[in-house]
Symmetry: D2
Subunit: 126 residues, 4 copies
């Protein structure tokens, strides 16, 4: 779940915001952020949101994640908002939305829906 | 998009609610509604929400839809709430949530994310 | 998992084919099969394929299933071919393809990818 | 679609294999490849496979992609095999499988299903 350069901007039970400055190495040739970076921050936001509803020693594993890419992602910062839709004993269903922040404007660039598995006692492994 | 027995309970631009009474033929052997019926009403809600943002003669086609089944669906009524996440010229991205209504209680039984295609001039065909 | 009117045409470990005659009540107004019926047979094929790799008393539960609708489904028969991609201890990942059979011709009408949960000792409940 | 360090290992109509050596910067703290890198190579393989069935000047855009992560990805090399399931005039449906190659052994680590859009005349933009 570690994403170098990203930081937790908001953490509440089942609701997490992650922000990641856009660095040159995340950009493809046209100045947009690689879709894989969008997927990663979206996965992290939904996964962390899931983890807030697990036990303190539980790890989280992404079972699957579907992403719809809505617009090219550019700007200064990517912001991902993850929310849990259903918290089960062994599985969590969560979604996330990614926004590209450029100066004062925010653009919705991706939306996801995914499934996460509770890994009892494996917090440090994931 | 026609779903026999369903009715539009709310229609606003990009935001639609559909309700469908639970009939015996939609139930499987344990009294729960078939997951295929959940998928259908979820698809209809997201598809209709997409269509509200199209031209008056445009039809809508489901390209793909992912559903997470959250809980068994039972009760008197299924209610599906569809919302458009992004309206494009040729494609719409929409999500929907399905609730099982039993007396005065409502239970979140499914959530979806999907892609819908604008079919210019084909409103009566879909 | 029961789908009235469907029959198992082929069963091997992790590989199942289901066939369902197209009946009038599955058709929408243009003579095509409802997408919800496609989803149901696709879900059943992938779910049964998953169950062949579980213990004899285990039930199977659909966690999530994504379907891409490729072409309108019509004809005499829907045939769904489900295959397991990975068999885990608690989760199975499976895909399925749906074909519309009309006389001697077969048309690929849907493809899916989904996640199924092992329900130990709950074979009769699902 | 460019993925630094990746190479096309096989190209046939609707069928593409991409290989990417595992570099240190793609690894997370436990020596496994970041899931975002798996998503990227899977997206590239399915997207390139789609592009082989388009016109010579057409670009390809990922509309959406669902990935199931099957096992941790490690080893020397990631190999992704993309295949088109249906080629339409404006949309392509494609899937891909990712394998982690370690010495002589190959492990299936991810499977995907996605939708790609034909971008007429925009080959250099994507």
């Amino acid at each position: 779940m570690t994403l170098i350069g990203a930081r937790l901007a908001h953490v509440a039970p089942g609701d997490v915001v992650i922000e990641m400055p856009v660095r040159a190495e995340l950009e493809q040739q046209h100045g947009y952020v690689h879709a894989g970076a969008c997927w990663s921050i979206a996965d992290s936001a939904a996964g962390y949101a899931s983890q807030t509803l697990m036990g303190p020693d539980d790890g989280v594993l992404t079972v699957e994640l579907k992403i719809n890419l809505l617009a090219p992602a550019g700007g200064d910062l990517l912001r991902a908002h993850g929310r849990v839709e259903r918290a089960g004993r062994s599985l969590m269903v969560a979604r996330s939305d990614v926004f590209a922040v450029d100066g004062g404007t925010e653009r919705h660039v991706a939306t996801t829906l995914g499934t996460f598995m509770v890994m009892p006692g494996l917090k440090d492994r994931t």
